[in-house]
Amino acid sequence: MRKFHIVLLLCVAIAISVLISFMGTLTTYDTVQTARDKPGKFIHLVARLDHTKPVEYDAVNNPNYLSFTAIDSLGDAVMVVYRNAKPDNLEISDRLVLKGAIKEDYFDCREILMKCPSKYKDDIKAVEENLPNAGINKQEADNSPAIKKI
């Protein structure tokens, strides 16, 4: 056997062990329901902010405590506690990826990834809202004989 082959074999062995150890740390995207089935396990919860419930954050009393309610795509809600400063644009993000684990009755969140419609502004819907409306409404304009659409 040549040295080169030994080295190659070694590399493959290292690569495989690295991969296996990495696979072991992988986690899953879950819903509130499936997350509740495995309390304490670190998961990614894809949800959005429930705007009807209060967002509790008082920077003066404790800048490291944020709590809010998140709803997943199936409509299940869970209270989320995040022990850090409130992320910049929590309220406007339309999707949250919450990394953490279910603890008793709430979701203990370690990290929040926000998907904001305007963050990179390529989402047309978000920018449209910023367009000046010029005070005319569509219905009127359609009926007005002076303005015709080409």
């Binding site: 992988l26 800048p63 490291n64």
Partner: protein, 825 residues
């Protein structure tokens, strides 16, 4: 309908040049390709002439498109969506270029411009390699041109055109008015986070790096295709060195931008976007090493092909990853989906398939040496180094590709969630990278250190010990001292990882020392040929900077002294990383006193600057940091913060705003508590105590809003807070025509409001409440990054080393060429 005020000429011209560049690049591809096939000299000449004209036309068109788009942006022609979407009137002129490449279209264009520049150099210099190399470059240009074409082929949209009009792209009632433009007062502006000078220079450099990787790739393809398996390496090597310098430099400029203007508290986060550029660089560097092995020993030719081809294919793969929107959930700063996924995939496959087929087809014919190399030879250990980089790259790309795995598996499994559940990187995503790359750092540190002291083919043990012994001993000594006095205490990942960090620090120190001393021991001070040593020493310095700044990074804002104790469940957890500063209140933080002094606003933007005073407790050092933040920018609720840092030679103090009071939400709901007190009485409240010092009643008070005949009573109240600070409040009670008016006074630092409600002789009735609504405060995070300058200096030295090697290789190439010419004569 005729619209008023639109300037449509630039768009029309732009579209013309886009189509022209599409046609010209296709023509250049075909003509160059045909000229590689023709054997009769005359015919080849004809094709190559045509190809040159086509490519020059292509260059002209791309530059014209670039110029026109820049004209549109800089003149704020908001009828064009690109200008409206990415710029605004209030934007500083220096950021206009940053707008240009904020969008996908502009960045493709930038890439294309660099291909043009590099193509011109190839045409001028490459001689017999011009035709095959330029075939590849022209074809890439064609692919890039389709990305900004925006045309429909069989009902499918191809590319995203930068010259589309706003009114055609959006549905809004305003566009039914012929004079709609007069209502569009301003553009959507550049993302505030990108309003940073690094964003003006980092993308051009990074894209030059991206673009230049195609040249070694094209040479490798040309080598296979024209069966000149060996000859391509000499001209390709300087290009590969150039790429490594520029791509590496561009990458680290991105890291500096992230450090200076993003708020994740660092320069590197193993974000897929960063990984996507790092991986091709790693493979490229592997390729450079095997090229050098080949040039000195004739070995490793096959792996050179593999690495060189792979580096560019990985560039395309990372383009696909970052631009297709596939990273959606896993990256914070990937481009969004423009509906071009299929086209991007096609771009990738159009290069992957031919390159793979060519390599497999020619693989057996590529010369190689069957006899195995000596374990004491330089080439053996250089090759091991290349393999280490390969393993590093492969592990990073696999981890980054999890969203792709999810997509593919999801494609087969459908919606059936029991069959396959989308995967995500685990709890500590950064650590899952770090725990692998720490071994890479250790191996690279050792390998770059001793390999230079080996000779090609075979090294005597005595020779090696004599030359390489001293650096090993000295660096072990210095490393030991650094570890002893450096107080390595990174315990987040257990003792094992801490030991690995310590080993890595010694090894990177060894890399620096061994390479620097090699310039004298091995090369006798010949700086011209010491590019490799310089680059290796720089890389060692980078590793050292990364290891120290990351493992010794401290969060200074880690307690909440001075502010009432954390409440609720939060209190059982580790202390938070955010600190709230009340305006004017000196607060203790680590070994600093910090004070939020004042704030000021940008004249034209909703940008606020907060002046934070830092004073060392021993009084030696005093400085001011001014982190800023966009508040409710463009109707977007929330903050977009830019950090500020104080740079010392050995550490940075780095801070940014994490929260500000929101007046809309901070409704004052607390009630006044009424107390009856006399002069001298002391009353307790939750944060301390207060005393009535004096009571004055006057008939004539000189103050705004008071009339003659008003009787004013002024109570002077002294407040003693728990942390031994004293404040004075003077609430006033005015009686006018038998009616009472209250003028309360506040103590901001204690969030107290006092009102004087009633005076009966010596006795007064005072209302007191503690409210959050009145206070002005900032919440911030403060980090200390030790020795981060090592990383930046190391980067600079590495880039310089690569460029030194490049210059030398060009010279050697030129000399050999001259020799050959004289022999031929």
């Amino acid at each position: 309908m005729d619209y008023i005020g639109e300037n449509l000429l630039p768009g029309k011209l732009g579209n013309f040049f886009i189509i022209l560049s599409l046609v010209a690049s296709l023509m250049a591809t075909v003509a160059y390709f045909l000229s590689t096939k023709k054997t009769i000299a005359n015919e080849e000449n004809k094709w190559i002439k045509l190809a040159k004209i086509a490519f020059l036309t292509e260059v002209f068109s791309v530059l014209a498109v670039f110029g026109i788009l820049f004209y549109i942006i800089s003149n704020h022609l908001f009828e064009y969506k690109y200008a409206w979407q990415h710029s605004s009137l209030s934007l500083e002129a220096k950021y206009l270029l940053a707008c240009f490449w904020e969008g996908q279209e502009g960045s493709f264009l930038l890439w294309s411009v660099w291909h043009c520049v590099l193509g011109l150099i190839i045409i001028k210099k490459a001689k017999s390699w011009e035709a095959p190399v330029m075939t590849v470059v022209s074809f890439a240009q064609f692919c890039l041109a389709t990305m900004i074409a925006g045309i429909y082929i069989f009902g499918h949209k191809v590319g995203s055109n930068p010259f589309v009009l706003l009114r055609n792209e959006m549905e809004a009632p305003i566009f039914l008015k012929p004079d709609y433009l007069s209502f569009i007062k301003d553009g959507n502006d550049l993302n505030p986070l990108l309003q940073n000078y690094w964003m003006v220079i980092h993308p051009p450099v990074l894209f030059l790096g991206f673009a230049s990787v195609i040249i070694p790739f094209a040479y490798a393809i040309a080598g296979l295709y024209t069966k000149r398996y060996k000859e391509w390496i000499k001209p390709a090597l300087p290009w590969a060195l150039f790429s490594a310098a520029v791509l590496g430099g561009g990458l680290m400029m991105g890291a500096m931008w992230a450090y200076e203007s993003l708020t994740f508290g660092g320069y590197w986060a193993w974000d897929p976007v960063e990984n996507a550029s790092l991986v091709p660089w790693l493979i490229l560097v592997s390729g450079i090493h095997t090229m050098l092995i080949y040039q000195s020993t004739g070995r490793s030719l096959r792996s050179t092909f593999l690495f060189t081809l792979l580096s560019f294919l990985l560039i395309l793969y990372s383009t696909f990853l970052t631009r297709s929107g596939i990273l959606g959930d896993s990256s914070v700063h990937a481009f969004t989906d423009l509906g071009m996924n299929f086209q991007l995939l096609l771009f990738l496959l159009l290069f992957v398939i031919p390159a793979t087929v060519l390599l497999i087809y020619h693989f057996r014919k590529i010369p190689h040496i069957a006899r195995e190399e000596e374990a004491s030879s330089r080439e053996f250990w250089m090759f091991i180094g290349s393999l280490v980089l390969l393993i590093s790259a492969v592990s990073i790309i696999i981890m980054t590709s999890i969203p792709v795995v999810n997509k593919i598996a999801g494609f087969f499994a459908g919606q059936n969630k029991t069959l396959f559940k989308p995967l995500a990187i685990g709890e500590n995503s950064e650590h899952s990278y770090n725990q692998i790359q720490i071994f890479v750092a250790i191996s690279i540190g050792v390998l770059t250190g001793f390999t230079q002291y080996l000779k090609y083919k075979k090294t005597g043990i005595k020779y090696f010990l004599k030359k390489a012994g001293w650096p090993i001993l000295v660096s072990l000594l210095i490393g030991g001292l650094v570890l002893f006095f450096g107080d390595m205490n990174y315990d987040k990942q257990g003792a094992g990882f801490l030991i690995l960090i310590c080993i890595a620090i010694v090894c990177s120190g060894y890399a620096i020392l061994a390479n620097l001393s090699y310039v004298w021991i091995g090369l006798k001070g010949n700086l011209k040929s010491s590019g490799a040593s310089v680059a290796h020493a720089g890389f060692g310095l980078m590793l050292l900077g990364i290891l120290i700044s990351s493992s010794k990074k401290e969060i200074l804002s880690i307690n909440t002294t001075g502010i009432s104790a954390p409440m609720g469940e939060g209190s059982t957890e580790k202390p938070g990383e955010n600190l709230t500063l009340l305006k004017g209140a000196k607060t203790s933080m680590d070994n600093y006193w910090v004070t939020y002094e004042t704030d000021s606003a940008h004249p034209r933007k909703p940008l606020w600057y907060y002046k934070i005073e830092f004073e060392e407790k021993n009084g030696e050092e005093k400085f001011t940091l001014t982190p800023n933040t966009f508040v409710n920018y463009k109707g977007v609720e929330g903050l977009m913060s830019n950090p500020d840092a104080k740079h010392y030679w050995n550490h940075d103090v780095f801070t940014y705003i994490t929260s500000l009071p929101d007046p809309a939400k901070n409704k004052d709901s607390s009630q006044y508590e009424v107390k009856q007190i006399k002069k001298g009485d002391t009353v307790l409240y939750t944060g301390g105590s207060f005393t009535l010092q004096r009571l004055v009643t006057k008939n004539e008070v000189q103050a705004a809003g008071l009339q003659a005949g008003d009787i004013a009573s002024i109570a002077t109240i002294k407040v003693f807070s728990k942390n031994n600070a004293a404040y004075t409040a003077e609430p006033i009670l005015i009686s006018r025509n038998n009616q009472a008016y209250l003028l309360p006074d506040t103590v901001n630092e204690e969030r107290l409001i006092f009102q004087l409600r009633n005076v009966e002789g010596e006795k007064i009735e005072v209302g007191i409440k503690q409210s959050n609504a009145i206070v002005e405060y900032v919440t911030l995070k403060v980090y200390k990054f030790p020795f981060i300058n090592l990383l930046w200096i190391g980067t600079f030295i590495t880039v310089v080393g690569f460029l030194m090697s490049m210059v030398r290789r060009i010279k050697i190439g030129g000399m050999k060429m001259a020799e050959q010419n004289t022999i031929l004569k």
